[in-house]
Symmetry: C2
Subunit: 227 residues, 2 copies
């Protein structure tokens, strides 16, 4: 679509959220992959505060931060609603989306960034704690539903589901099983349903993308250290 | 109003946001002050994840996290809109509200919690950096407007304005002037307008409340240490 451009990164779960939202609305757009080692002028100009992807540029105007973008996409484009239409359910979805970004994501991304084993172990513990709270949420607020969004994928499914390919990569790389079916059976069943959905199959990258991203970064860091 | 109860704390800027939102909608409600040293069963049951105020309980159902609550209040009650009605302006307001909670608040609250002078100095630097970015936002996205909300107070005014009585307390306690008119003239002019608004006069506490809160905590900590 003329007038709609997404600045992204294949391995970013935050970008996946926006791609899924745009897909749910049936909107086409131009996609530009960013190189985080050499960010484009457009990215720096469009998101001067955080200088991060995703940025959605709509008719020349930038929207930044994945949760803000997904809500914007939901409000601006016709198509099935992404956020729940009931205000209380919407508040609940926003609460858990904030929890995912404030508690869960810093924990699991911390596993990746940890420089020492004890730091990694601490972040693993934090990740399991946050995942345990998500399991409780599923049991209480979303009892009997196939997805957080009800019978089909919605806001919270996108927000959490966008992280799943990284969780699979962690299982392979670190033997850390973030969503373990014996510990969090509801989340595990949800993750399986999510993975089988048309939206996820189309837009959530394979775990290989995350593994490659990690290996590439490690190689670049090693090359820099060897200089 | 029967069916509407707010669990709060006078000195909490996050609670002030909710009180201002409810006031803008002309909604009456029951208010219960929490004792953070001895949280009520209702608070623990209503917000098991964070165990924090504010919690708004509407017809028996709890809503937690101030930004989520303010949006809920805006969507559920009639009255003047709190968030901008234009989707792009709404996205911009949500972006800056997230910035305030993710960058500015951890910085200024960090000044309060700092245990050493160098840590305090670091948090002061972070606070000034975040405030400088808010000044740029005012210059670019909100040029010529009396308030972030336009001619009257809106979402972002509530989100930032709720912190101002703490900034004044910091000026008195630490000689740290977070909003200094020579450094951030647009924000300083905005803060003056905000302070004169009927909403702020009615609902934003005096800086004394913040000073007393700090002194009470310090006294309690000293008493605990002396035991």
């Amino acid at each position: 679509m003329a007038g709609l451009k997404l600045l992204g990164l294949v391995a970013s779960p935050f970008v996946v959220r926006v791609r899924m939202a745009l897909s749910m609305k049936g909107v086409s757009y131009e996609y530009a992959e960013e190189d985080l080692k050499n960010k484009s002028e457009l990215l720096l100009k469009s998101n001067p505060v955080h200088q991060k992807v995703p940025v959605l540029i709509h008719n020349g105007k930038p929207i930044c931060e994945s949760l803000v973008i997904v809500q914007y996409v939901d409000e601006v484009f016709a198509g099935p609603p992404i956020l729940p239409t009931d205000p209380y359910e919407r508040a609940t979805a926003r609460f858990w989306a904030a929890f995912i970004d404030d508690k869960l994501c810093p924990a699991w991304i911390g596993i990746l960034r940890a420089k020492a084993e004890d730091e990694r172990a601490e972040k693993v513990t934090e990740t399991f704690a946050a995942i345990g709270q998500m399991e409780e949420a599923l049991a209480k607020s979303y009892e009997g539903k196939a997805f957080f969004g009800g019978e089909s994928i919605g806001y919270l499914d996108i927000v959490l589901g966008s992280c799943l390919f990284w969780f699979e990569a962690f299982r392979r790389m670190y033997k850390v099983e973030i969503i373990n079916s014996s510990k969090v059976p509801l989340l595990a069943a949800w993750a399986e349903r999510f993975g089988k959905s048309a939206e996820a199959k189309e837009l959530v990258p394979e775990a290989d993308e995350a593994v490659q991203y990690v290996n590439k970064r490690a190689a670049a860091a090693a090359a820099a250290a060897a200089k």
